[in-house]
């Protein structure tokens, strides 16, 4: 039978999760977990709500770097002007999750740990070189976001481990990011393809650093180093964008489903990567 507890410290949550007989599930916003409880896809014995733990919800800035509490709702992320200025792509990705109502609850930790290949915030977080702090009975570790999802619905978290916060690094001048997704409607749908791009430019507008990440075209979001390499050393002309497009398409290992065929998803991945790169580049140019 299901039980519920809402510990008030991280230590208490770790102990409860370590000692829980049967399966325990961590609860952040519940926008995935409650749907899965209802459908019977998950049948935990215990739900551990982390939202009563101080720091789980909220954003802190430290010397130009940002710390985002694991359970911070999308709506709160969208209202943080400082974060929006420095990481516009991460914020737009987080804000694409669901409706206004879903935004009132949905968190980055839930989006990441639900491990959908189409999760919208994940490509943007990976492009941003975001890390997350994972805690458990064996201590605390800080790992890159891309190390968490291992396949649809699966993560590298050990039993009893959970995420307490995300870190976004300090940004050099002339840096910006962007996230775009393609859906057949204008709202309330799951990405056919998502693309997150982060760039840093030299004073002449050539990329000195780039990260390109695709969502929904493989079992997990994928970092595409070849696509980043196509950008580095260049300003964005048609030859560079064509090379980026091709590298993005080459990295795709999508599935065929009702939202798109393999061929379609692959083509759209190239287009989304191009467009996201153009937006990130434009934003970086005006961010001195």
């Amino acid at each position: 039978m299901l039980d519920y507890t809402a510990p008030s410290t991280v230590e208490e949550a770790i102990r409860i999760l370590a000692e829980a007989p049967g399966t325990a599930k961590v609860l952040s916003g519940g926008t995935d977990l409650l749907v899965q409880l209802r459908s019977g896809r998950t049948k935990p014995d215990l739900i551990v709500d982390i939202k009563k733990i101080p720091g789980m919800s909220g954003i802190r800035e430290r010397d130009g770097a940002f710390v985002i509490g694991a359970a911070t709702p999308g709506a709160v992320i969208g209202e943080c002007e400082a974060l929006k200025r420095v990481w516009p792509g991460v914020v737009e990705a987080a804000n694409l999750i669901g409706s206004t109502q879903v935004q009132g609850r949905a968190s980055l930790a839930g989006n990441l740990c639900n491990a959908s290949p189409a999760a919208d915030s994940v490509p943007a977080l990976i492009a941003a070189r975001a890390t997350c702090v994972v805690v458990g009975a064996n201590g605390r570790r800080e790992v890159p976001v891309e190390s968490i999802p291992t396949g649809p619905g699966r993560t590298s978290l050990k039993p009893g481990e959970f995420i307490v916060e995300f870190h976004l690094p300090k940004r050099p001048a002339r840096s910006a990011d962007a996230y775009l997704r393609f859906i057949p409607r204008t709202e309330m749908d799951i990405a056919v393809v998502g693309a997150g791009v982060s760039v840093t430019l030299d004073p002449g507008g050539a990329c000195t650093d780039a990260r390109v990440v695709l969502g929904a075209v493989a079992p997990t979001a994928i970092l595409v180093p070849d696509a980043a390499a196509a950008l580095i050393g260049h300003t964005l002309d048609e030859t560079v964008l064509a090379a980026l497009d091709q590298a993005a398409r080459r990295a795709c290992k999508p599935i065929d489903d009702k939202r798109g065929t393999i061929e379609y998803r692959t083509k759209v991945a190239g287009v989304m990567a191009r467009r996201a790169a153009v937006i990130a580049h434009e934003r970086a140019g005006v961010r001195r």
Binding site: M1, L2, D3, Y4, A6, L27, G29, G30, T31, L34, V35, L37, R38, I47, D49, K51, P73, A75, G98, S99, T100, Q101, V102, G104, R105, T186, E187, M188
Partner: protein, 163 residues
Amino acid sequence: MSKHHVSTTINGEPTEFLCEPQLTLLDVLRDELHLTGSKEGCSSGDCGACSVMVDGRLVCSCLMLAVEAEGHTIETIEGMARGHDLHPLQRKFLEHAALQCGFCTPGLLVAAKALLDRNPNPTETETRYWLAGNLCRCTGYDKVIRAVLDTAAELRGSDTVSE
């Protein structure tokens, strides 16, 4: 099964209830507290018929466990009118015939009020995006949008509706 004791404030009234951990806030509002204005359309976060405010944020009450309400402030459609005085949004929904069967209406009203409370002068596009999580199978949405924009204009004391 162990029941949880939950203390909340609902529409300004301190409210306590006992509930099993798997029940949603929507289940308890409707079946335990007999606040049946919030509707259950899908139970999966897609339709918005169950929309309520929790600590001033719009959420789907079907996607929140009732036990999570402990210590929080909840506002439902039942708190919107003051006695027999309808809220301006409710009045404008009637004037514009922004409802047919009415199943989506409580959720739409709660969501529209949340919009106007933070943005007294929304554009039509902002209004349509804000309400994208509220499904209506009857009206085709246009009258709903007109009613919301007209209410906003009235509350601002202006005759012009934002484009």
